[in-house]
Amino acid sequence: MADMNTNNLHLLERKLLQVMSNNNEAELEDLVNDSGLTLDQIRRSVEWLKEKNLIEVKMTEMKLISLGKEGENTKKNGLPEKRLVNKLKTGEEIELSELPKKIDLNQDELSAALGYARAEKWITIFKKDNKVMIRREGKEAESKIEDLLNKISEPLQLSEFSSEEQEILRSLVKRPEYISYEVVKKTRVKITKNGLEVSKNIKDDNYIDVLTPKMLESGEWRNASLRPLNVESPSPTIYSGKKHPVRIFIDEVREIFVSLGFQEVEGSIVQSSFWNFDALFTPQDHPAREIQDTFYIENEKASLDVDKQILKNVESVHKDGANTGSKGWRYQWNIEQARRMVMRTHTTCVSVRNLADNKPDEARVFSVGRVFRNEKVTFKNLVEFHQIEGIVVGKDVTLRDLMGLLTKFYKKLGFEKIKFWPSFFPYTEPSLQSMVYHEGLGRWIELGGMGIFRPEVTRPLGVKNPVLAWGSGLERLVMLRYGIDDVRKLYENDLDWLRGIPLCP
């Protein structure tokens, strides 16, 4: 061990060993001054040196005694009971009530002093002619307390006191604020025999520790070697800037959509009921439109600055199906209901507005956006979550095409097996539901719904061709990706979690 290669020592370790070779044994705090290192650096190097058996570490617990406020006072002015009896001659008798005039002590101090003086048998208290009297007795007023107090000028360890002194210390505890008692933990380090030898080698080498610009300028570096470092030791942690995990996942989904030929669109979060419900052929008394499920915005009405023809078409398709071949919902549609503003409950309103604006014969459009539901927040429900949605418009597109596109989409997300079965949504027909097989969980999980927009939805907007549509929640997929089982965690923004998420898990 003694012939250990000093080059393996870290700069900090070398410095510390050198200091220790002079001090032999020291407290961590003392080493700060001697080494010029910070306490933190010293702690780290002490750990490393201990591992290498070059130093020993001792944890000591010290009980420190120091003077309190009253202790300091007494040290300066003398013990009150002693001061009291010194005012009296041996055998002198004096009325108790006369005492305050003779000595500068307040009532509390005086009664304490009387008590102690009486206990020491320096005085006797007695009654005479109905008066309380004090007599100074012959015993000399001597106290070791003062000697003890004089000894304590800085905090002293309990072990530095004799057992007699310790006895007195214990009695002083009863006097308020005379002494204070504190337990201090100290780390003491001691250089080992190996350490001493290694430190000698350090002194002898002529490596330089830091390459400075000055050395480069002067060419001084030519005559020196840079000391090798311990390149295997751990380093302090730093973090990269990073997108939020949900955002990272959204970006992945967006790339998949674009690779499948889809154009991204976005739209408002606050929508009129017209776009969120009516244009999607959701009758005005449908349960989904009730306050319990949907966030309506207080006192806000949409001006419904929409193509008049579309408004009229939507009204009549609700009423009797208009020219779509539908029977409609057969009720009196009310435009005031359509004006109520909502936090959108799905991104389908974005797709539908896009259809109304562009009336495409052929298109592939997607959006990823936030949607809202008036729900209690639990480990599986949030009031707000993200929805993925894609639509395909084309003259010859079919239900099987929709299944094919979705199969491809989920494959790109890493799901090889997919199942479909029938389902129901108010604005698509036929409607299907999908399930994918999750290899990690070893089971099928329910994902998105899909279907072909009902002609009652598309015709009033002026779209003639069939429109395939699918939608899915995003959070579920994010949770699977990061192995999370409480959806709230996604938006808690715990910095440890955010910092720790790898980009390629």
Binding site: H244, V258, V265, I297, E298, G321, D396, K408, E429, P430
Partner: protein, 553 residues
């Protein structure tokens, strides 16, 4: 979504062919039904409210028998006339306009049958009945009722013994009672109330609130009288269709009731064929299946729909409860179900297209690139916040956009700034390693020209022991320069959240205010229990984006 409990023993006795439990569970989803729970005795099946005929095991068994080819015939609904009559008083028009009724004879009501019927009644109330507003159903013991009945209105002092009570209550008392309270809002604003009573003036029902105690059902009841009242003729007729077809399948004999309204007589229930025409080519093109006309007819049959080819069309007839079919696409889905969704092979659309990102989103992507490049961590928070968070931030709570009846007080207003969420995030992370440098890009909401306005807002927050205005200002400059090559300047200004004299407005190159920047004042830090100083800037990205997007044009 409504759920129906199906016991295996009952189900297997209703099915007309042999099938194992496992096969049953495998097939049910292909009818468009979800299995929610299964055990040894029963399965719980979730169905969509557009198919209330699935509200009992009778309805599910009926569909399965055809779907599994156990039967190829349809139920025949032979309806004889009963002697029962309801005379409708004109005054009911103003209160609860429509009434239809039916008589069911010779039905055996064991406990499970009664339970199934009650579930069906509840599901109809909640679904097409819209919580009894549109439709309310009364099911009565026929044997205690004497025809002719009358549907009249009364005032609120009228009294009778309501279901499960032993003494008279007035209409007023009923409406103020626990059960009445739930539905009283439906009759709000009326001073007349609908009552159905028989020839002996005994009350059957006070729709949509409660039945009379007189006609209560028990397991000895064998003959039923059903009334359905409501505000929509389609809805009451549809509900009655579901009821009478189901009770027919449960072994009852359905008889009609005469309804006299305004001196015209109708009989209910009617057996409605629900015919519709569907172009066969439309079927093929929507499903993407080259199927023959014969196949179309066969697949329809599996879904209990009668199809007949007429030229290039198929003309269909359905059972009376299939009022969910309102458009040919609904029929096409049935053909798809009959074919078997699991038999459909996925294909890909013929044409190919080029995809692309939204320009706005692309801008936000680049903004995130710059910010993460500067070492910042992105946070994401919810768009609805509490007023309390704004108050803690010492921000104004006037002119907020509020949502109605939130179920969570943490989410009551639309956020008009990211700042409270940034502060809250710091506050939740006080024990995490500093320095903390974070950002959020999110929509914020406000009103502009009396319209709700939303824009993307970026907030950057820096927290550590020595953070100050200069540091956050450097981040702001870097953001402007690296993203858009613009100089964002700062103009001294006061702001409620910042330290006086350490706050500024952010001004773009055209001199327009685009945001604010400063050191958060200690009182706000204290409000969030923060012990570390914070500086931040908050900037309207839509404003910055405008330049970029107009530059491109």
């Amino acid at each position: 979504m409504p759920v129906v409990t199906v016991y295996y023993d009952r189900m297997f006795s209703m099915l007309k062919g042999k099938i194992s439990k496992d096969q049953l569970i495998e097939k049910i989803p292909y009818l468009g039904l979800d299995i929610e729970e299964e055990n040894d005795e029963y399965i719980k099946i979730e169905y969509n409210p557009n198919r209330p005929d699935y509200s009992t095991d009778y309805g599910i068994a009926r569909s399965l028998n055809s779907f599994l080819d156990f039967e190829t015939e349809y139920s025949k609904y032979d309806i004889n006339e009963s002697e029962f009559v309801i005379n409708v008083d004109k005054s009911t028009e103003q209160v609860r306009q429509y009434i239809v009724a039916a008589v069911i004879k010779d039905i055996k009501l064991d406990d499970e049958t009664i339970r199934q019927i009650i579930t069906m009644q509840e599901d109809l109330h909640n679904g097409i009945g819209r919580k009894r507003k549109k439709v309310a159903i009364g099911i009565h013991n026929l044997d205690v009722i004497k025809s002719p009945l009358e549907y009249i209105t009364v005032d609120d002092s009228f009294s009778f013994i309501p279901l499960n009570k032993d003494s008279d209550m007035t209409v007023k008392e009923i409406l103020n009672s626990e059960i009445g309270n739930q539905y009283a809002n439906i009759l709000l604003g009326n001073n007349r109330y609908p009552i159905i009573r028989d020839a002996n003036k005994q009350v059957l029902s006070f729709p949509p609130i409660i039945n009379g105690d007189l006609t209560r059902l028990d397991s000895k009841t064998t003959n039923l009288f059903i009334d359905v009242t409501g505000t929509d003729l389609d809805a009451v007729s549809n509900a009655l269709s579901v009821l009478f077809t189901t009770l027919n399948d449960a072994g009852g004999k359905v008889q009609s009731v005469e309804i006299n309204v305004n001196s015209s007589k109708i009989r209910t229930p009617e057996v409605n064929d629900n015919t519709m025409e569907v172009e066969t080519e439309y079927v093929r093109s929507l499903l993407g299946l080259e199927i023959s006309e014969k196949e179309i007819i066969e697949y329809l049959r599996r879904c209990r729909i009668l199809g007949e080819i007429s030229g290039n069309k198929v003309v269909i007839k359905t059972e009376p409860f299939r009022f969910d079919l309102i458009h040919p696409v609904d029929v096409i889905e049935e053909i798809g179900l009959g074919y078997g969704i699991h038999n459909l092979e996925p294909t890909l659309p013929g044409s190919d297209m080029t995809g692309g990102f939204d320009e706005k989103q692309r801008f936000l992507d680049k903004a995130r690139d710059v910010l993460t490049g500067l070492g910042l961590i992105e946070i994401m928070t919810i768009g609805l916040i509490s007023e309390d968070m704004l108050e803690k931030s010492e921000m104004s709570t006037s002119e907020l956009l509020k949502v109605v009846d939130t179920k969570s007080i943490e989410h009551e207003v639309l956020k008009n700034s990211n700042v409270p969420a940034i502060l809250k995030t710091f506050s939740k992370n006080i024990h995490k390693k500093y320095p903390q440098r974070i950002f959020e890009i999110s929509k914020v909401f406000g009103k502009k020209d009396n319209e709700i306005h939303e824009n993307y807002q970026l907030t950057v927050g820096l927290a550590h022991a020595t953070v100050n205005f200069t540091e956050v200002s450097s981040y702001l400059n870097a953001f402007g320069k690296q993203l858009l090559d613009i100089d964002l300047s700062t103009k001294a200004s006061e702001n409620e959240i910042f330290v006086k004299g350490r706050a500024a407005e952010i001004i773009d190159e055209e001199g327009i205010k685009v945001g604010v920047i400063g050191e958060i004042k200690p009182q706000v830090l204290e409000n969030f229990a923060l012990r570390t100083p914070i500086s931040l800037f908050d900037i309207n990205l839509d404003q910055l984006m405008k330049k970029k997007i107009s530059k491109n044009e």
